[in-house]
Amino acid sequence: MDVELLKPLPVPTPVSLPFWEGLAEGKVRLQKCDACRTWVFYPRSRCSCCLSDQLRWRDVSGRGTLYTFTIARQPTSPHFASDTPQLLAVVELEEGVRLTTNLVHVAEADIRVGMRVKACFERVSPDITLLKFQPA
Protein backbone atom coordinates (compact mmCIF):
# COMPACT_ATOMS: atom_id res chain seq x y z
CA MET A 1 0.00 0.00 0.00
CA ASP A 2 1.34 3.42 -0.87
CA VAL A 3 1.11 5.91 1.91
CA GLU A 4 1.46 9.55 1.05
CA LEU A 5 3.47 11.33 3.70
CA LEU A 6 2.16 14.73 4.65
CA LYS A 7 4.82 17.40 4.42
CA PRO A 8 5.57 19.45 7.53
CA LEU A 9 3.36 22.52 7.74
CA PRO A 10 4.09 25.83 9.45
CA VAL A 11 2.10 26.73 12.55
CA PRO A 12 1.17 30.44 12.56
CA THR A 13 1.81 32.18 15.86
CA PRO A 14 0.21 35.39 17.17
CA VAL A 15 3.27 37.25 15.89
CA SER A 16 3.51 35.60 12.47
CA LEU A 17 -0.21 35.32 11.69
CA PRO A 18 -0.38 38.45 9.45
CA PHE A 19 2.38 36.97 7.26
CA TRP A 20 0.46 33.74 6.70
CA GLU A 21 -2.87 35.56 6.26
CA GLY A 22 -1.24 37.74 3.62
CA LEU A 23 0.01 34.73 1.68
CA ALA A 24 -3.49 33.20 1.77
CA GLU A 25 -4.71 36.41 0.10
CA GLY A 26 -1.93 36.32 -2.49
CA LYS A 27 0.08 39.11 -0.86
CA VAL A 28 3.61 39.24 0.53
CA ARG A 29 3.56 41.10 3.82
CA LEU A 30 6.65 42.09 5.81
CA GLN A 31 7.28 43.92 9.04
CA LYS A 32 9.03 47.30 8.95
CA CYS A 33 10.42 49.05 11.99
CA ASP A 34 8.87 52.48 12.58
CA ALA A 35 11.85 53.49 14.70
CA CYS A 36 14.79 52.69 12.41
CA ARG A 37 13.07 51.89 9.07
CA THR A 38 14.61 48.39 8.90
CA TRP A 39 12.64 45.64 7.19
CA VAL A 40 12.44 42.51 9.33
CA PHE A 41 12.16 38.80 8.51
CA TYR A 42 11.18 36.33 9.87
CA PRO A 43 8.23 37.78 11.83
CA ARG A 44 9.36 39.17 15.19
CA SER A 45 8.17 40.98 18.28
CA ARG A 46 11.11 43.36 18.14
CA CYS A 47 13.28 44.86 15.41
CA SER A 48 16.40 42.79 14.76
CA CYS A 49 18.37 46.00 14.19
CA CYS A 50 17.34 48.40 17.00
CA LEU A 51 15.15 46.20 19.26
CA SER A 52 12.17 48.56 18.97
CA ASP A 53 8.76 46.93 19.30
CA GLN A 54 7.24 49.38 16.81
CA LEU A 55 6.99 46.94 13.92
CA ARG A 56 4.25 47.49 11.37
CA TRP A 57 3.07 45.12 8.66
CA ARG A 58 3.29 46.39 5.06
CA ASP A 59 2.36 44.79 1.76
CA VAL A 60 5.38 44.54 -0.55
CA SER A 61 5.86 43.65 -4.22
CA GLY A 62 7.20 40.13 -3.74
CA ARG A 63 9.95 40.87 -6.25
CA GLY A 64 13.59 40.21 -5.65
CA THR A 65 16.68 38.37 -6.82
CA LEU A 66 17.96 34.86 -6.35
CA TYR A 67 20.60 35.22 -3.64
CA THR A 68 21.72 31.59 -3.70
CA PHE A 69 20.32 28.14 -4.39
CA THR A 70 21.06 24.44 -4.42
CA ILE A 71 19.70 21.49 -6.29
CA ALA A 72 19.24 18.76 -3.71
CA ARG A 73 19.29 15.33 -5.27
CA GLN A 74 19.24 13.41 -2.00
CA PRO A 75 16.13 14.04 0.11
CA THR A 76 16.81 14.29 3.83
CA SER A 77 13.33 13.19 4.74
CA PRO A 78 10.95 10.76 3.03
CA HIS A 79 8.36 13.53 2.88
CA PHE A 80 10.26 15.24 0.10
CA ALA A 81 11.40 12.15 -1.82
CA SER A 82 8.77 12.71 -4.51
CA ASP A 83 10.02 16.30 -5.01
CA THR A 84 13.58 15.26 -5.89
CA PRO A 85 15.43 17.13 -7.25
CA GLN A 86 14.49 19.85 -4.79
CA LEU A 87 15.15 23.39 -6.00
CA LEU A 88 16.02 25.04 -2.68
CA ALA A 89 16.69 28.75 -2.76
CA VAL A 90 17.32 31.91 -0.80
CA VAL A 91 15.63 34.95 -2.30
CA GLU A 92 16.56 38.52 -1.37
CA LEU A 93 13.49 40.71 -1.66
CA GLU A 94 13.73 44.30 -2.90
CA GLU A 95 13.38 45.35 0.74
CA GLY A 96 16.64 43.54 1.60
CA VAL A 97 15.37 40.65 3.71
CA ARG A 98 16.16 37.09 2.72
CA LEU A 99 13.88 34.09 2.89
CA THR A 100 14.04 30.38 2.22
CA THR A 101 11.91 29.14 -0.63
CA ASN A 102 11.61 26.78 -3.56
CA LEU A 103 11.99 27.81 -7.17
CA VAL A 104 9.13 26.77 -9.44
CA HIS A 105 8.38 27.07 -13.16
CA VAL A 106 12.06 27.11 -14.05
CA ALA A 107 14.40 24.67 -15.80
CA GLU A 108 17.43 23.58 -13.74
CA ALA A 109 19.82 24.80 -16.42
CA ASP A 110 18.34 28.30 -16.36
CA ILE A 111 18.89 28.93 -12.64
CA ARG A 112 21.46 31.66 -11.97
CA VAL A 113 22.51 33.46 -8.81
CA GLY A 114 21.30 37.05 -9.22
CA MET A 115 18.38 36.29 -11.54
CA ARG A 116 15.23 38.33 -11.01
CA VAL A 117 12.36 36.45 -9.43
CA LYS A 118 8.78 37.11 -8.38
CA ALA A 119 6.49 35.60 -5.80
CA CYS A 120 3.98 32.89 -6.49
CA PHE A 121 1.63 31.38 -3.98
CA GLU A 122 1.16 27.68 -3.38
CA ARG A 123 -1.78 26.69 -1.23
CA VAL A 124 -0.79 23.51 0.62
CA SER A 125 -3.68 23.21 3.10
CA PRO A 126 -6.94 25.05 3.77
CA ASP A 127 -5.08 27.39 6.12
CA ILE A 128 -1.55 27.52 4.78
CA THR A 129 -0.12 29.02 1.62
CA LEU A 130 3.62 28.84 0.98
CA LEU A 131 5.60 31.61 -0.70
CA LYS A 132 7.55 30.28 -3.67
CA PHE A 133 9.34 32.08 -6.47
CA GLN A 134 9.61 31.89 -10.25
CA PRO A 135 11.63 33.83 -12.82
CA ALA A 136 10.34 37.38 -13.21
Partner: protein, 382 residues
Protein backbone atom coordinates in the same frame (compact mmCIF):
# COMPACT_ATOMS: atom_id res chain seq x y z
CA UNK B 1 48.48 18.73 25.48
CA UNK B 2 49.43 15.74 27.65
CA UNK B 3 47.88 12.87 25.74
CA UNK B 4 45.43 11.82 23.05
CA UNK B 5 43.18 8.79 22.75
CA UNK B 6 40.80 7.31 20.22
CA UNK B 7 38.64 4.22 20.02
CA UNK B 8 38.35 2.04 16.96
CA UNK B 9 36.31 4.04 14.46
CA UNK B 10 33.16 2.50 12.98
CA UNK B 11 30.71 3.41 10.26
CA UNK B 12 27.61 5.03 11.72
CA UNK B 13 25.39 2.67 13.64
CA UNK B 14 27.98 -0.11 13.67
CA UNK B 15 29.58 0.33 17.08
CA UNK B 16 29.24 -2.87 19.10
CA UNK B 17 29.48 -0.79 22.27
CA UNK B 18 27.34 1.80 24.03
CA UNK B 19 28.23 5.43 23.50
CA UNK B 20 29.31 6.05 27.09
CA UNK B 21 31.68 3.09 26.92
CA UNK B 22 33.25 4.51 23.75
CA UNK B 23 33.77 7.86 25.47
CA UNK B 24 35.33 6.20 28.53
CA UNK B 25 37.61 4.05 26.37
CA UNK B 26 38.88 7.09 24.51
CA UNK B 27 39.56 8.87 27.80
CA UNK B 28 41.40 5.83 29.20
CA UNK B 29 43.48 5.64 26.01
CA UNK B 30 44.34 9.33 26.37
CA UNK B 31 45.34 8.75 30.01
CA UNK B 32 47.62 5.88 28.98
CA UNK B 33 49.13 8.03 26.23
CA UNK B 34 49.79 10.82 28.76
CA UNK B 35 51.00 8.53 31.55
CA UNK B 36 48.33 10.03 33.80
CA UNK B 37 46.04 8.08 36.12
CA UNK B 38 42.32 8.52 35.27
CA UNK B 39 41.61 9.51 38.88
CA UNK B 40 43.73 12.64 38.35
CA UNK B 41 41.24 14.09 35.85
CA UNK B 42 39.32 16.93 37.53
CA UNK B 43 37.76 18.64 34.52
CA UNK B 44 35.57 17.65 31.56
CA UNK B 45 35.04 19.72 28.43
CA UNK B 46 32.84 18.67 25.53
CA UNK B 47 30.65 20.12 22.77
CA UNK B 48 27.87 19.40 20.28
CA UNK B 49 25.45 18.49 23.09
CA UNK B 50 27.46 15.38 23.90
CA UNK B 51 25.34 13.03 25.99
CA UNK B 52 28.29 11.74 28.04
CA UNK B 53 28.25 14.40 30.70
CA UNK B 54 31.18 15.15 32.98
CA UNK B 55 29.64 14.02 36.25
CA UNK B 56 28.83 10.59 34.81
CA UNK B 57 32.30 10.22 33.28
CA UNK B 58 33.94 11.32 36.55
CA UNK B 59 31.99 8.75 38.52
CA UNK B 60 32.82 5.97 36.09
CA UNK B 61 36.52 6.88 36.02
CA UNK B 62 36.81 7.22 39.79
CA UNK B 63 38.03 10.80 39.61
CA UNK B 64 39.03 12.03 43.06
CA UNK B 65 37.31 15.39 42.60
CA UNK B 66 35.23 17.10 39.92
CA UNK B 67 36.13 20.78 39.58
CA UNK B 68 35.08 21.70 36.03
CA UNK B 69 32.22 20.26 33.93
CA UNK B 70 31.62 22.22 30.76
CA UNK B 71 29.63 22.12 27.53
CA UNK B 72 30.44 24.36 24.54
CA UNK B 73 27.17 25.55 23.00
CA UNK B 74 26.33 24.83 19.38
CA UNK B 75 25.81 21.84 17.15
CA UNK B 76 27.98 20.01 14.68
CA UNK B 77 31.70 20.39 15.20
CA UNK B 78 31.85 24.11 15.98
CA UNK B 79 33.31 23.20 19.36
CA UNK B 80 36.10 20.84 18.33
CA UNK B 81 38.55 23.64 19.14
CA UNK B 82 36.14 25.36 21.54
CA UNK B 83 36.37 22.39 23.91
CA UNK B 84 40.15 22.92 23.90
CA UNK B 85 39.62 26.64 24.49
CA UNK B 86 37.42 26.00 27.51
CA UNK B 87 39.74 23.31 28.91
CA UNK B 88 42.79 25.56 28.52
CA UNK B 89 40.92 28.51 30.04
CA UNK B 90 39.94 26.40 33.04
CA UNK B 91 43.56 25.42 33.63
CA UNK B 92 44.90 28.93 33.05
CA UNK B 93 42.25 30.30 35.43
CA UNK B 94 43.10 27.82 38.16
CA UNK B 95 39.70 26.11 38.00
CA UNK B 96 41.16 22.66 37.28
CA UNK B 97 44.53 20.95 36.82
CA UNK B 98 43.82 18.05 34.50
CA UNK B 99 41.01 18.51 31.96
CA UNK B 100 39.88 16.09 29.30
CA UNK B 101 38.28 17.39 26.08
CA UNK B 102 36.27 14.60 24.49
CA UNK B 103 33.47 13.58 22.14
CA UNK B 104 31.66 10.25 21.87
CA UNK B 105 29.02 9.18 19.41
CA UNK B 106 27.10 5.95 18.77
CA UNK B 107 24.40 6.58 16.20
CA UNK B 108 22.96 3.07 16.31
CA UNK B 109 22.14 3.60 19.96
CA UNK B 110 20.78 7.12 19.61
CA UNK B 111 19.73 7.71 16.00
CA UNK B 112 21.45 9.21 13.02
CA UNK B 113 23.10 12.60 13.34
CA UNK B 114 22.00 15.35 10.99
CA UNK B 115 18.93 13.64 9.60
CA UNK B 116 15.86 15.80 8.99
CA UNK B 117 13.31 15.54 11.78
CA UNK B 118 10.11 13.82 10.73
CA UNK B 119 7.50 16.10 12.21
CA UNK B 120 4.11 17.16 10.97
CA UNK B 121 4.06 20.75 12.18
CA UNK B 122 6.80 23.30 12.69
CA UNK B 123 6.84 26.65 14.44
CA UNK B 124 9.38 29.35 15.21
CA UNK B 125 12.12 29.96 12.67
CA UNK B 126 11.73 26.41 11.31
CA UNK B 127 8.27 27.41 10.04
CA UNK B 128 10.13 29.43 7.42
CA UNK B 129 12.55 26.69 6.30
CA UNK B 130 11.31 23.14 6.93
CA UNK B 131 8.09 23.34 4.84
CA UNK B 132 10.27 23.99 1.79
CA UNK B 133 12.24 20.80 2.42
CA UNK B 134 15.27 22.63 3.83
CA UNK B 135 16.11 20.28 6.67
CA UNK B 136 19.78 19.31 6.62
CA UNK B 137 23.12 20.95 7.20
CA UNK B 138 24.17 19.75 3.74
CA UNK B 139 21.42 21.80 2.10
CA UNK B 140 21.97 24.93 4.18
CA UNK B 141 25.73 24.92 3.75
CA UNK B 142 25.57 24.09 0.05
CA UNK B 143 23.82 27.42 -0.45
CA UNK B 144 26.53 29.32 1.44
CA UNK B 145 29.24 27.66 -0.64
CA UNK B 146 27.27 28.27 -3.83
CA UNK B 147 27.12 32.01 -3.14
CA UNK B 148 30.83 32.22 -2.20
CA UNK B 149 31.82 30.32 -5.34
CA UNK B 150 29.63 32.63 -7.42
CA UNK B 151 31.10 35.78 -5.86
CA UNK B 152 34.71 34.70 -6.42
CA UNK B 153 34.47 32.56 -9.57
CA UNK B 154 35.65 29.48 -7.69
CA UNK B 155 35.95 26.36 -9.81
CA UNK B 156 34.79 23.00 -8.56
CA UNK B 157 38.34 21.68 -8.88
CA UNK B 158 39.06 23.59 -5.66
CA UNK B 159 36.60 21.42 -3.76
CA UNK B 160 38.01 18.31 -5.41
CA UNK B 161 41.56 19.13 -4.25
CA UNK B 162 40.36 19.11 -0.62
CA UNK B 163 38.72 15.70 -0.97
CA UNK B 164 41.70 14.21 -2.78
CA UNK B 165 44.16 15.40 -0.12
CA UNK B 166 42.08 13.92 2.72
CA UNK B 167 41.75 10.57 0.98
CA UNK B 168 45.41 10.38 0.02
CA UNK B 169 46.51 11.05 3.60
CA UNK B 170 44.11 8.35 4.88
CA UNK B 171 45.98 5.72 2.87
CA UNK B 172 48.89 5.82 5.33
CA UNK B 173 46.72 6.08 8.46
CA UNK B 174 45.73 2.62 9.72
CA UNK B 175 42.98 4.12 11.92
CA UNK B 176 41.24 5.71 8.93
CA UNK B 177 37.94 4.22 7.80
CA UNK B 178 38.93 4.95 4.18
CA UNK B 179 42.38 3.38 4.52
CA UNK B 180 42.70 1.07 1.53
CA UNK B 181 40.01 2.94 -0.41
CA UNK B 182 41.86 5.58 -2.41
CA UNK B 183 40.07 8.35 -4.30
CA UNK B 184 41.06 9.35 -7.84
CA UNK B 185 40.04 12.52 -9.66
CA UNK B 186 37.95 10.36 -12.00
CA UNK B 187 36.15 8.65 -9.13
CA UNK B 188 35.40 12.04 -7.61
CA UNK B 189 34.09 13.45 -10.88
CA UNK B 190 31.91 10.39 -11.45
CA UNK B 191 30.44 10.38 -7.93
CA UNK B 192 26.80 11.27 -7.51
CA UNK B 193 25.51 14.70 -6.62
CA UNK B 194 24.17 15.01 -3.11
CA UNK B 195 23.38 18.71 -2.87
CA UNK B 196 25.04 20.94 -5.47
CA UNK B 197 27.88 21.97 -5.39
CA UNK B 198 28.60 18.92 -3.23
CA UNK B 199 29.15 15.48 -4.64
CA UNK B 200 29.35 12.37 -2.45
CA UNK B 201 33.05 12.88 -1.70
CA UNK B 202 32.52 16.50 -0.65
CA UNK B 203 30.47 15.32 2.33
CA UNK B 204 31.89 13.97 5.58
CA UNK B 205 31.29 10.46 6.75
CA UNK B 206 29.03 9.63 9.65
CA UNK B 207 30.69 7.48 12.26
CA UNK B 208 30.57 5.91 15.67
CA UNK B 209 33.51 6.21 18.04
CA UNK B 210 35.11 8.52 20.53
CA UNK B 211 38.18 10.71 20.91
CA UNK B 212 39.76 12.42 23.92
CA UNK B 213 42.57 14.87 24.65
CA UNK B 214 44.07 15.56 28.07
CA UNK B 215 45.35 19.00 29.02
CA UNK B 216 47.52 19.87 32.02
CA UNK B 217 49.38 23.05 33.07
CA UNK B 218 52.31 23.86 30.79
CA UNK B 219 54.77 23.49 33.68
CA UNK B 220 54.14 19.74 33.66
CA UNK B 221 55.22 19.36 30.02
CA UNK B 222 58.74 18.22 30.90
CA UNK B 223 57.43 15.29 32.98
CA UNK B 224 55.24 13.91 30.20
CA UNK B 225 56.21 11.09 27.83
CA UNK B 226 55.76 13.00 24.55
CA UNK B 227 57.57 15.99 23.06
CA UNK B 228 55.83 19.09 24.48
CA UNK B 229 52.85 20.50 22.60
CA UNK B 230 51.40 23.78 23.85
CA UNK B 231 48.15 25.64 23.16
CA UNK B 232 49.34 28.92 21.63
CA UNK B 233 45.81 30.19 21.13
CA UNK B 234 42.19 29.09 20.97
CA UNK B 235 39.22 31.29 20.05
CA UNK B 236 35.54 30.87 19.25
CA UNK B 237 32.46 32.84 18.29
CA UNK B 238 31.10 34.50 15.18
CA UNK B 239 30.66 37.84 13.44
CA UNK B 240 27.75 40.29 13.90
CA UNK B 241 24.49 38.29 13.75
CA UNK B 242 26.33 35.27 12.32
CA UNK B 243 23.66 33.04 13.82
CA UNK B 244 20.69 35.04 12.47
CA UNK B 245 18.07 32.52 11.35
CA UNK B 246 16.59 31.98 7.90
CA UNK B 247 19.70 33.18 6.04
CA UNK B 248 19.52 36.73 7.37
CA UNK B 249 23.08 37.06 8.61
CA UNK B 250 24.47 40.16 6.86
CA UNK B 251 27.70 38.39 5.85
CA UNK B 252 26.16 35.21 4.46
CA UNK B 253 28.71 33.61 2.15
CA UNK B 254 31.10 32.95 5.00
CA UNK B 255 32.41 30.15 7.17
CA UNK B 256 32.00 32.58 10.13
CA UNK B 257 35.71 32.81 11.00
CA UNK B 258 36.50 36.42 10.09
CA UNK B 259 36.55 37.68 13.68
CA UNK B 260 37.57 34.37 15.26
CA UNK B 261 40.64 33.96 13.03
CA UNK B 262 41.93 37.49 13.68
CA UNK B 263 41.65 36.98 17.42
CA UNK B 264 43.38 33.61 17.14
CA UNK B 265 46.39 35.09 15.35
CA UNK B 266 46.56 37.93 17.87
CA UNK B 267 46.38 35.53 20.82
CA UNK B 268 48.99 33.16 19.41
CA UNK B 269 51.24 35.98 18.22
CA UNK B 270 51.63 34.42 14.78
CA UNK B 271 50.57 35.09 11.18
CA UNK B 272 49.26 32.68 8.54
CA UNK B 273 52.74 32.18 7.05
CA UNK B 274 53.94 30.78 10.39
CA UNK B 275 51.54 27.81 10.20
CA UNK B 276 53.33 24.64 9.06
CA UNK B 277 50.36 22.28 8.82
CA UNK B 278 46.57 22.71 8.90
CA UNK B 279 43.65 20.55 9.96
CA UNK B 280 40.43 22.12 8.69
CA UNK B 281 37.11 20.50 9.59
CA UNK B 282 35.31 19.13 6.59
CA UNK B 283 31.60 18.88 7.20
CA UNK B 284 31.59 19.73 3.52
CA UNK B 285 34.50 20.79 1.34
CA UNK B 286 32.84 24.17 0.75
CA UNK B 287 33.35 24.98 4.43
CA UNK B 288 37.07 24.21 4.18
CA UNK B 289 37.24 26.48 1.16
CA UNK B 290 35.88 29.49 3.01
CA UNK B 291 37.68 28.68 6.29
CA UNK B 292 41.10 28.60 4.61
CA UNK B 293 40.38 31.95 2.99
CA UNK B 294 39.07 33.50 6.21
CA UNK B 295 42.16 32.33 8.10
CA UNK B 296 44.22 34.32 5.62
CA UNK B 297 46.04 31.50 3.81
CA UNK B 298 44.99 32.92 0.44
CA UNK B 299 42.82 35.67 -0.97
CA UNK B 300 39.30 34.78 -2.15
CA UNK B 301 40.25 35.43 -5.74
CA UNK B 302 43.38 33.21 -5.53
CA UNK B 303 41.45 30.07 -4.61
CA UNK B 304 41.59 28.39 -8.02
CA UNK B 305 45.41 28.49 -7.98
CA UNK B 306 45.98 27.84 -4.28
CA UNK B 307 43.61 24.89 -3.89
CA UNK B 308 45.65 22.14 -5.55
CA UNK B 309 46.45 18.64 -4.43
CA UNK B 310 50.18 19.47 -4.62
CA UNK B 311 49.80 22.35 -2.15
CA UNK B 312 47.78 20.24 0.30
CA UNK B 313 49.86 17.05 0.49
CA UNK B 314 52.26 16.20 3.32
CA UNK B 315 55.15 16.28 3.78
CA UNK B 316 56.22 18.98 1.35
CA UNK B 317 53.08 20.81 0.16
CA UNK B 318 52.78 24.53 0.72
CA UNK B 319 50.03 23.96 3.32
CA UNK B 320 49.65 20.27 4.19
CA UNK B 321 45.93 19.79 4.91
CA UNK B 322 44.00 17.19 6.89
CA UNK B 323 47.00 14.92 7.22
CA UNK B 324 45.17 12.05 8.95
CA UNK B 325 42.39 11.89 6.36
CA UNK B 326 40.13 14.20 8.32
CA UNK B 327 36.39 13.92 8.58
CA UNK B 328 36.13 12.78 4.98
CA UNK B 329 38.45 9.80 5.15
CA UNK B 330 39.70 9.14 8.70
CA UNK B 331 36.56 9.46 10.80
CA UNK B 332 33.87 12.02 11.52
CA UNK B 333 34.32 12.34 15.26
CA UNK B 334 32.92 15.86 14.98
CA UNK B 335 36.39 17.16 14.41
CA UNK B 336 38.12 15.97 17.56
CA UNK B 337 40.11 13.54 15.41
CA UNK B 338 41.43 16.56 13.52
CA UNK B 339 42.41 18.22 16.79
CA UNK B 340 44.31 15.08 17.78
CA UNK B 341 46.07 15.06 14.41
CA UNK B 342 47.09 18.70 14.89
CA UNK B 343 48.75 17.64 18.18
CA UNK B 344 50.43 14.63 16.57
CA UNK B 345 52.03 16.94 14.02
CA UNK B 346 53.79 18.84 16.83
CA UNK B 347 54.77 15.59 18.60
CA UNK B 348 56.03 14.10 15.33
CA UNK B 349 53.88 10.95 15.44
CA UNK B 350 51.40 11.78 12.68
CA UNK B 351 50.95 9.10 10.00
CA UNK B 352 51.91 11.89 7.56
CA UNK B 353 54.31 13.92 9.65
CA UNK B 354 55.42 17.27 8.30
CA UNK B 355 59.16 17.41 9.11
CA UNK B 356 60.07 20.14 11.54
CA UNK B 357 56.47 21.26 12.12
CA UNK B 358 56.53 23.82 14.94
CA UNK B 359 53.11 25.47 14.50
CA UNK B 360 49.98 23.45 13.81
CA UNK B 361 46.45 24.84 13.38
CA UNK B 362 43.02 23.24 13.76
CA UNK B 363 39.87 24.90 12.41
CA UNK B 364 36.53 23.57 13.67
CA UNK B 365 33.00 23.41 12.28
CA UNK B 366 32.85 26.00 9.47
CA UNK B 367 29.50 27.72 8.80
CA UNK B 368 27.89 26.97 12.17
CA UNK B 369 27.79 29.48 15.05
CA UNK B 370 29.80 29.50 17.20
CA UNK B 371 32.86 28.24 15.32
CA UNK B 372 36.29 27.78 16.88
CA UNK B 373 39.97 27.45 15.97
CA UNK B 374 43.14 26.67 17.86
CA UNK B 375 46.90 26.72 17.33
CA UNK B 376 49.43 24.35 18.86
CA UNK B 377 53.15 24.94 19.09
CA UNK B 378 56.32 23.08 19.95
CA UNK B 379 58.81 24.01 22.70
CA UNK B 380 60.60 26.23 20.18
CA UNK B 381 57.55 28.46 19.75
CA UNK B 382 57.34 29.59 23.37
Amino acid sequence: MAGVGQTTYYKHGQSPHAESRLALEAILNACADAGIAPEEIDGFSSYSNDRNDGPRMAAALGCRELRFSNMFWGGGGGGAAGAIQNAAAAIAGGLADCVVAYRGLAQGQFGRFGRGAEVGQVSGEAAHTTPFGLMSAAQMFAMKAMRFMHDHNVERSALRAIALASYQHAQTNPLAIMNGRPLTPEKYDDSRWIVEPFRLFDCCQENDGAAAIILVPAERARDLPHPPCYVLGATSGGHYRAGAPVHNTPDYASSHFKTVARRLYDMAGIEPEDVNVLQSYENFTGGVLMAIVEHGFCEPDEVNDFFSIENFLAPSGRLPLNTSGGNLAECYMHGLGLTIEAIRQIRGDSPNAVPGAEVSMMIAGPMVTPVSSCVFGSQATL
